[in-house]
């Protein structure tokens, strides 16, 4: 079965410092992986996606993630946090087996707080 595990439920950083949100995945297939962001009272927005092309994926708003097969990880990073980055972040893998292929399997989320 496929799954993703977000290692931190809450991360707090100061504005201007680096951001690291950690995600490990489990999949018997070569996975696609996504990061979505959800701002308070807003819907989900795709930040970036990995689809087996380049292992370092660049997304919107300065975020990037690196796919590491040896570590089964897909951590999200940003060099310098901005106050507007405060939100909930979800690591996501699309289901590739069984009768519901294509539906998204979400991690439990990491809430990012940014202090001034």
């Amino acid at each position: 079965a496929q799954s993703v595990t977000q290692l931190d439920s809450h991360v707090s950083v100061s504005e201007g410092t680096p951001v690291l949100l950690r995600c490990n995945y489990s999949s018997s297939y070569s996975p696609s992986l996504f990061w979505y962001v959800q701002h308070p009272n807003k819907g989900l927005q795709l930040l970036l996606k990995y689809t087996s092309a380049a292992t370092l994926v660049k997304g919107i708003n300065g975020f990037e993630a690196e796919f590491k097969k040896s570590e089964t990880s897909f951590h999200l990073t940003k060099p310098s946090a901005h106050m507007s980055d405060a939100a909930e972040y979800f690591c996501v893998v699309p289901q590739r087996e069984g009768g519901s292929q294509g539906n998204l399997i979400f991690g439990k989320g990491t809430k990012l707080s940014v202090k001034p």
Binding site: L44, L46, P94, Q95, S100, Q101, G102, N103, L104, F106
Partner: protein, 114 residues
């Protein structure tokens, strides 16, 4: 272009009642998926429809049902509401079903069951 739209934005219902939530996909998208997001959790898959046929169903009771119309819009119906059905219900559209297609989410419908 308009994104995925959902209605209503908020809804308050009483236990035992029935509710219908609506979703309009992005123009040209033929697949709609529904997710339930309980407070403090990641979204959970409920249904996926493609070309008006159910293509997938998550682990939800039969009180939950859905359909897709010829214009690709979709309805999610929940019967005999329970307090535990209180959640944000998200609709996502994609060009087609399957794991290779990016899903775009609407703003959601916040359902409160009292």
């Amino acid at each position: 272009d308009a994104g995925v739209t959902q209605s209503p934005t908020h809804l308050i219902k009483t236990r035992g009642q029935h509710v219908t939530l609506r979703c309009s996909p992005i123009s040209g998208h033929k697949s709609v998926s529904w997710y339930q997001q309980v407070l403090g959790q990641g979204p959970q898959f409920i249904f996926q429809y493609y070309e008006k046929e159910e293509r997938g169903r998550g682990n939800f009771p039969d009180r939950f049902s859905a359909r897709q119309f010829p214009n690709y819009s979709s309805e999610l119906n929940v019967n005999a509401l329970l307090l535990g059905d209180s959640a944000l219900y998200l609709c996502a559209s994609s060009f087609a079903g399957g794991p290779g297609y990016e899903q775009y989410f609407g703003p959601g419908t916040r359902l409160t069951v009292t």
